[in-house]
Amino acid sequence: MTGHVFHPGHHELHGVTVVLETHGSRTYVGRFDSQDERGVQLHDVGVYDAGTAEGSKEEFLRRCDKFGIRSEHRELVVPGVEVAGIQRLIDRVR
């Protein structure tokens, strides 16, 4: 539901599982919490690193969609300068 505020009073993506792409080799999948001067805060975060992963990023994301996100970080803040884009996981894979 584009434009639907999932948790009233919060950022539109608060509580939503997103794909956060960075300008580097890492892509994060986790539940969006907030965005402020520190960066983007995510919960229960899975990580894809193009520098070390065996499969492709698309395979990783499809696996996250089908089997869920294997959390490597309970909480993570990605500095704003590293963020290249944020999209809902469900929109990214379908």
């Binding site: 539901m1 509580g15 599982t17 969609d65 089908k66 869920g68 294997r70 469900i90």
Partner: protein
Amino acid sequence: MPYNPALVAPMRQEMTGMGARELTTAADVDTALGDQRGTMLVFVNSVCGCAAGNARPALRLALQHGVKPGEVVTVFAGQDLEATSRARQYFAEYQPSSPSMALIKDGEVVHFVHRHQIEGRSPQAIAADLTAAFDRHFAATV
């Protein structure tokens, strides 16, 4: 720590009101899933008002479809801890999230609806995904 039972009572009643059977102990789960035959939906309930608040009405809508699971059972994450933990052992291939739903046929998970497939979506949209899964996996056996 489990939530106040009074707080979650309406969420339980919403499930039992649509015909779901509550599984509150590991023994309940083993009885239901241990030698499961036919078709079943396991609903992992949650107090999350935004996600579960849409998932329960979505399931109620989906159960009005012609093709549906032979039985619906439910465990309550954050409340019935032992039952939820045991249920998740039956679909251990899938990362835990709540709310979530497992569609099971003859003991095998044939489809799984994760929390991220519920978040921010309308009950109608979630129900449409569910009924498509019912048609795909349960049509010939119900």
